[in-house]
Structures are given as C-alpha cells and as structure tokens.
Symmetry: C2
Subunit: 143 residues, 2 copies
C-alpha cells in the first residue's frame, strides 16, 4: 500500500509541476482518453480528453506571464489493485512575473484513478468549493 | 460486474427512498463511520458520521411537510472487488403537501464506496454544481 500511495502521490506531483510549467500535454498525460470531469467552472462536465484539452489550453493560455503554484493538503488515498480514489484540498496561487502573489483560492478535489500499462491515470475528477447559502456565491477560502 | 452494478444501484435507490421518507437513519445506513464528505453547501467538509448526521437531520427537519423527490441521471460505475466509484447527475425536486412542485435543482455527485460485511458503503462523497465565472454564483440548472 505504501508503494501504491507513492504512485498516486506522483500523479499529484505531476499535476503541480505541469501547472507550474503550463505544459498542457504533461498535464493531460495523467488522464485517460475517456475522462468524465466535474469541474468547478461554468460547465456541468467535460467528457473525453479533447474537451478537457480545450479547458486546459484555455486556462494556461489565459495566464500570460503569470505562474500558478499548486499545493495539496490532507491527501487521502483509498485503493485496490486497479482502482484508486484520492481526495484533497488544493490551493492555486497565481504569481506575477516578479514573484508577487496576485490571488489565490482553495478547492476540494476528488480523483478516481485506474491502473494502466503506463501507470495510474485519472478517469474521473470532481473539483468544487462550497456555496454560501445566503448569497449563493462560491466560497474560495477554506476556513 | 452486472451483479456489482446492481448492488451499487441499490445504494442510489436507498438514497432516494430515505430522502423521500425523510428517514435520517435509513439515509445514514449507506455511509461508513469515518466518512469524509465534500458537500455543496456552506462547509468545506464533513468528517465522521456524527457530523454528517447533523447535516441530514437539519436538512430533513427543515422540510416541514414538504417531500423531496430525488432522481439520478447518467449513473456511471467503475468498480473492483472492494472499491467502487460512481458518479451521476442528481435532481432534487421539492413538493408541497398537495404534490405541487415548489423548486428543483441539479447537482453533480461522486460516490466512493467500499465493500463491507453489510454491503457497499459510501466512505467519500462529493457534490457540487458549477460556478458562473461572471457572477461567481452557483448554477442550479443543468443546461
């Protein structure tokens, strides 16, 4: 199980480094072709890697010369031999070209992964933040 | 796998009937003691069945004589022998005592389940709806 958790941790590490490098293909290499993603923003779902590629290239392209630091907290993994579920809190922090923090937000992240010939791949992802019941607005800072 | 999908479907059916009956203990019987839940409303997480019991009894208690009809769309299940991941769209529809629809909303739902001696139990749940990027408000109707 420790070896397995290490392998899942590598997926989280790969996510973090691909976002920092704004490398869409490195980012997408952690997903299966037939992904079904419930993402926080705008759309009810992304189905298939091409739809997800559109989101990712749009996101990275929108950043200009900013960099985004991703950090994960409280990663919890449950796995069998060929299916794993991981969930965590995630912080996205945008930095200006001279390293100043421009903005940050927290999300909650659930990953469902399957073991493939080329390692663990995400086939389902769910990210969100809770909703304030009075304003119906999203809460971006974890209390 | 068909038998297994049938077993997972029974968890969805149990969720639906427990909400309709506003039966908190029937509802909670589908969860493990050590659940970790990312729920749509207000809180970043619920950890442990007692915290979740507080949410459920508060929800059911707030309904007065209303009934809530739950429907699931596009349930997808991936499972190994002892761990399963299911995701779906969920519709909550509130009915007045004379059967009139008062309100409804859609959510996205991810369930992570493990096989126990008393059947499949949810140990992690993530529910959300997407956020409008302009208003930062939650979107409650699936397009």
């Amino acid at each position: 199980m420790n070896e397995l958790k290490k392998q899942i941790q590598e997926v989280f590490d790969g996510y973090k480094s691909a976002v920092f490098e704004k490398d869409a293909e490195a980012f997408l290499s952690h997903y299966t072709e037939d992904i079904h993603i419930f993402d926080l923003w705008e759309k009810w779902s992304y189905e298939g890697i091409d739809a997800w590629r559109g989101m990712v290239t749009g996101w990275f392209g929108s950043l200009g010369d900013e960099k985004v630091i991703v950090d994960f907290d409280d990663i919890q993994v449950n796995a069998s031999d060929d299916i794993a579920i991981a969930h965590a809190y995630i912080t996205y922090k945008a930095l200006s070209v001279d390293g100043q923090e421009l903005r940050s937000m927290n999300n909650r992240l659930t990953l469902a992964l399957k073991r493939t010939k080329s390692g663990w791949k995400i086939f389902h992802q769910h990210s969100s933040a809770p909703i304030d019941g009075d304003t119906l607005k999203v809460m971006f800072k974890r209390a």
